[in-house]
């Protein structure tokens, strides 16, 4: 027992606590309207504290449960996640999307659970011994595609994208040869380059050259070439057949300023809030931009703008530093994991967390398209917090269990 405790990574745990505390402070400020001496605070921060306690309790339980039990539960939980993701469509819409399961006052975002379980299942199935490269690809695709499509139709583009990035990272960390990764992303690159014929031909030649270098069979290379050329020709036709508003929606995802009354306005206001914070910020509760209510939910996706405004560059860098140390420490320790499924799962979780942090902050400062991804551990939201804490708990558990197998 003692030995086990020593294995527990208190540094990561301490950083986790620092982050959730930062979150409560930011949520308190974001939901407070202060004018002169008058105050009004909505009770989001109280709910967040309750969720933190629940999450930490779940964290402790997770550490106590034997690994074999968790391993056994992965497949049933995956099936449950899929069923719940379907059930979500029969729930009333909240803010124009079917994302939440509603049980009276409590709402539960299933996609958060599905994300974690999908990572675990992919990690489990592709680390079976004597498995071919194609089997790895096909298995991971089949497991991923179902939840990703369901989430995409909620609609929740941000989370659906997260699924894709996670898969890519897990495959990249497996022993798959690199050209498979190239094959996976080549259709997406074809779509992007199809708007310029010259760009596309340069890209296609480069792709084929790389595949030749990797000594792929001529059939496979020819097949890739045909597929990508086909995409090149079809994309413009598909694009022109889209309705104006559909084109606009895609374009404003890439360039939010095209949609000045929606995301564009939010980003401008978020940038003004963060920019006006300066070096030391305006001080706790003293932000003025948040009082404008330009963002309907600045305690969730745009919480970073409140931090930026009230704590300035200094506060932002401290928060970034917490995240950086947290992620780097996990990345470093992960290296010690010898069991493949644990290693793959850790890569997936780390990627998932890093992706959310970078995309959310990037969105707040206007350098990345708006996708509706919350800031892990900081943004208000119970399901997101619970499953992020559990994910970290899993990695710490893997590191603990390591001693048993060594």
């Amino acid at each position: 027992m003692l030995k086990k405790l020593r294995q527990f990574d208190w540094f990561v745990f301490a950083l986790l606590i620092c982050l959730v505390v930062c979150g409560v402070i930011a949520i308190y400020s974001a939901s407070t309207t202060k004018i002169g001496d008058e105050f009004q605070t909505e009770d989001f921060y109280k709910k967040q504290i309750i969720w933190i306690i629940i999450s930490l309790a779940a964290f402790v339980v997770l550490m106590k449960v034997p690994y074999s039990v968790i391993d056994f539960l992965i497949i049933p939980l995956y099936v449950i996640s899929i069923l719940l993701l379907i059930a979500v469509f029969f729930m009333p819409q909240v803010k124009g999307a079917h994302r939440w399961l509603l049980f009276g006052p409590i709402s539960f975002q299933v996609s958060e659970m599905a994300k974690l379980i999908t990572i675990l299942l992919i990690a489990k199935l592709i680390s079976k011994p004597y498995i071919s490269e194609w089997q790895i690809l096909i298995r991971s695709f089949i497991i991923l595609i179902l939840p990703a499509i369901l989430v995409l139709f909620e609609p929740d583009l941000g989370t659906a994208l997260t699924f894709g990035v996670i898969l890519f990272a897990i495959l990249a960390s497996s022993h798959l040869p690199k050209f498979y990764l190239l094959l996976i992303i080549s259709p997406f690159l074809s779509i992007i380059t199809s708007f310029s014929a010259v760009l596309f031909f340069v890209y296609l030649l480069l792709l084929l050259y790389l595949l030749f270098r990797n000594k792929l069979s001529y059939v496979a290379i020819g097949f890739t070439g045909v597929i990508n050329s086909f995409i090149f020709f079809v994309t413009p036709i598909f694009w022109n057949n889209l309705k104006d508003y559909q084109q606009n929606r895609i374009l404003s995802f890439i360039d939010p300023m095209r949609d000045p009354f929606g995301t564009g306005y939010q980003i401008i206001q978020s940038k003004i809030a963060i920019g006006s914070g300066g070096f030391f910020g305006k001080g706790f509760l003293s932000g003025t931009q948040k009082n404008l209510h330009f963002l309907p939910e600045h305690h969730t996706d745009f919480i970073f703008s409140v931090i930026g405004e009230e704590f300035g560059f200094f506060g932002c860098v401290v928060l970034l530093l917490f995240f950086f140390l947290f992620l780097m420490r996990i990345a470093k320790n992960m290296n010690k994991l010898k069991r493949k499924e644990m290693y793959y799962a850790s890569v997936g979780i780390l990627t998932c967390l890093s992706f959310q942090v970078v995309v959310n902050i990037g969105m707040n400062i206007g350098i990345i398209p708006t996708t509706g991804i919350p800031l892990p551990f900081i943004s208000y939201g119970g399901s997101n917090l619970l499953f992020n804490v559990l994910a970290v708990g899993l990695i710490l558990k893997y590191l603990n269990e390591r001693s048993i197998f060594e």
Binding site: T33, S276, L292, G308, F313
Partner: protein, 585 residues
């Protein structure tokens, strides 16, 4: 092997965090002063452009509710320097108390950066006078906007008024602002979604020198979409005529309905009130006069008032007797001796001298109570209840108005719960057979029922809105129809009885007769608990070549149906006849 790959992920995280830090440095250190300036002066903001609320017209496109331009006074809390000074200025110049202004300011204390509507519909003279002084009060501003103008007093259009805190809480995600007006009753509430339209937006992005900040390049204006206009089946001419001949100081209701379409031609509930009062002043003191008036002018007696139907209900019992084959047109029931002994109680007929023994047609014509007492002895309470509901009485008609009431038909269970297990059902049942007792209906239900009798048994859902005018097309509203549970032969008997009531000597409805028009109808005089005059009812329909209109005239404590309500019905039919003739000429 793993080590090498992990380095790649590490480097990626380092790179991305570096990128974020640089961007933050750029935003918060290098360009900070620019953003600080923008934040302090709030240069970039969205201005909403309000849509024009849809107007309401009668069947001949004459306006009932329109919009007019109005000068509205707004305040912006963020610019107020001395709250007391502003409040005193407003209370000195407008009809509003100092404390009330303070109250409004306090209620909106967290809406620092929004313009809050303070007063509406300010006179032009006052506007000019005050405008000169506004330089001293930068927190106050006038805006010229459109507000509702209700041309006629009535209950069906309802009224709009400023959104309250609770409604705002529920609706703020649907584009309502704290200054929005919202339909509170009547058609304004029922068709709120169609009437409101969609807001437009404009982005203002200039700095103090008027220089465009150019944050946005595209689509800086989203034009508003005006609300849909409603075309009603109401005929203003008929509506106003009936409103003008309505007896003074009597509360009641008149409904006239087109029997073929179910469209309501006239809809009068008295007393009424001026709906414009809800727009004059945002402080609720004038409203109290209306709300606390004992005559209840706010009550729409046609769909929200429920009353015992009295004898106008007799055709229902008669048709049930015919359908169950308990009686036919030749059956003669107990002799009327001014009443009838049932068990230990003597149930009186309204004609104390007694009608003698009657057949069905005469029983309806003379409105003899005894005939129906005796008939009800052979019918169960449940079958009467079911049949009443199948005739669309004591159920909601589904008219396009909010909060319609169903009325009430008591069940056996209800009697047991309210009067104890051992109450006799016979007594209440006998009372119900002449439309008294606990039975309650709305005037609209009675009118629809008589329209269905006129329309050969086809009941049509009553409705006010005939068409919706959308951008480039008009949509006629389709309506629900159903068949009354009465055979053609029996319906004919009922129609004949209603004919005899009005057109044969000694019929109770003789006063409703009109020369050149065939009027059918039934009177009713409902006893009510207060021991005052009876409620007067007259319901019926009028036939030219074809039956065209059905009507109900109802006066609360007005007296007898035949004496008071029937003559008014005759005047209405006469006027309608004249309108028809004018149209043909």
């Amino acid at each position: 092997m793993y080590k090498k790959k992990l380095h790649f992920l590490n480097y990626l995280i380092i790179l991305l965090f570096l990128l974020l830090t640089i961007s933050l440095f750029n935003l918060q250190i290098i360009n900070s002063s620019e953003y600080k300036l923008i934040s302090e002066n709030n240069y970039v903001r969205i201005k909403t452009i309000l849509p024009v609320r849809g107007e309401i017209y009668d069947c001949k496109y004459r306006s009932i509710v329109t919009n007019k331009s109005s000068f509205n006074l707004y305040f912006s809390l963020g610019k107020i320097i001395d709250k007391n000074k502003v409040a005193r200025f407003i209370s000195n110049n407008f009809d509003i108390e100092f404390s009330e202004v303070k109250e409004i300011i306090y209620r909106n204390r967290f809406r620092l950066y929004q313009d809050i509507l303070l007063l509406q519909n300010i006179e032009y003279k006052k506007f000019v006078e005050i405008s000169e002084q506004l330089n001293y009060f930068p927190s106050l501003s006038f805006q010229n906007e459109s507000i509702r103008d209700y041309k006629y007093r009535n209950h069906f259009t309802g009224y709009v008024s400023k959104i309250n805190e609770q409604e705002y809480g529920n609706l703020k995600d649907e584009g309502y602002s704290i200054n929005s007006v919202i339909g509170k009753t009547g058609l304004e509430k029922f068709y709120e979604e169609q009437l409101i339209g969609r807001k437009g937006f404009e982005i203002i992005q200039v700095d103090a020198t008027g220089k465009n900040l150019e944050f946005f390049k595209h689509n800086l204006e989203l034009s508003p979409q005006n609300g849909l206009n409603l075309i009603l089946s109401i005929d203003n001419e008929l509506q106003n005529y009936i409103s003008s001949i309505f007896p003074a100081k009597i509360n009641g209701a008149v409904v006239v309905i087109d029997v073929k379409t179910g469209g309501i031609l006239a809809y009068i509930s008295k007393p009424d009130f001026d709906q414009n009062i809800f727009l004059k002043n945002l402080i609720e003191k004038d409203w109290d006069n209306i709300i606390n008036d004992p005559a209840k002018p706010m009550l729409d007696r046609i769909v929200h008032g429920t009353y015992p139907p009295a004898s106008v209900y007799k055709p229902v019992i008669a048709s049930l007797g015919l359908e169950k084959e308990v009686i036919d047109e030749h059956t003669i029931l107990s002799e009327c001796e001014g009443g009838m002994q049932i068990g230990e109680r003597f149930f009186k007929c309204w004609w104390e001298k007694g009608h003698g023994a009657l057949s069905l047609l005469d029983a309806i014509k003379y409105s003899c109570d005894v005939y129906f007492y005796d008939l009800s002895m052979q019918l169960s309470l449940e079958s009467i209840g079911d049949f009443t509901k199948q005739n669309m009485l004591t159920v909601k008609t589904g008219i396009d108005l909010p909060g319609e009431r169903a009325g009430f038909f008591p069940t056996r269970k209800w009697y047991f719960e309210n009067y104890g297990k051992f109450v006799g059902i016979v007594g209440p049942k006998v009372n119900i057979s002449i439309g008294q007792g606990e039975l309650l209906v709305t005037p609209l239900q009675v009118c629809s029922y008589f329209a269905a009798i006129a329309n050969d048994g086809k009941w049509v859902k009553p409705h006010l809105v005939k068409k919706r005018i959308e951008k480039d097309k008009t949509n006629t509203i389709s309506v629900e129809k159903k068949k009354l549970p009465v055979s053609e032969y029996n319906l004919n008997l009922i129609q004949t009885a209603l004919y005899k009531t009005v057109n044969e000597s000694y019929g109770t409805g003789i006063a409703a007769g009109v020369e050149g028009v065939t009027v059918y109808g039934k009177t009713g005089s409902a006893e009510n608990h207060m021991g005052e005059e009876t409620h007067a009812w007259f319901a019926g329909y009028a036939k030219w070549e074809e039956p065209e209109i059905a009507f109900v005239v109802f006066f609360e404590n007005g007296g007898s149906g035949g004496g008071v309500a029937a003559p008014v019905a005759a005047t209405i039919v006469e006027f309608y006849d004249k309108m028809k003739n004018d149209l043909e000429e």
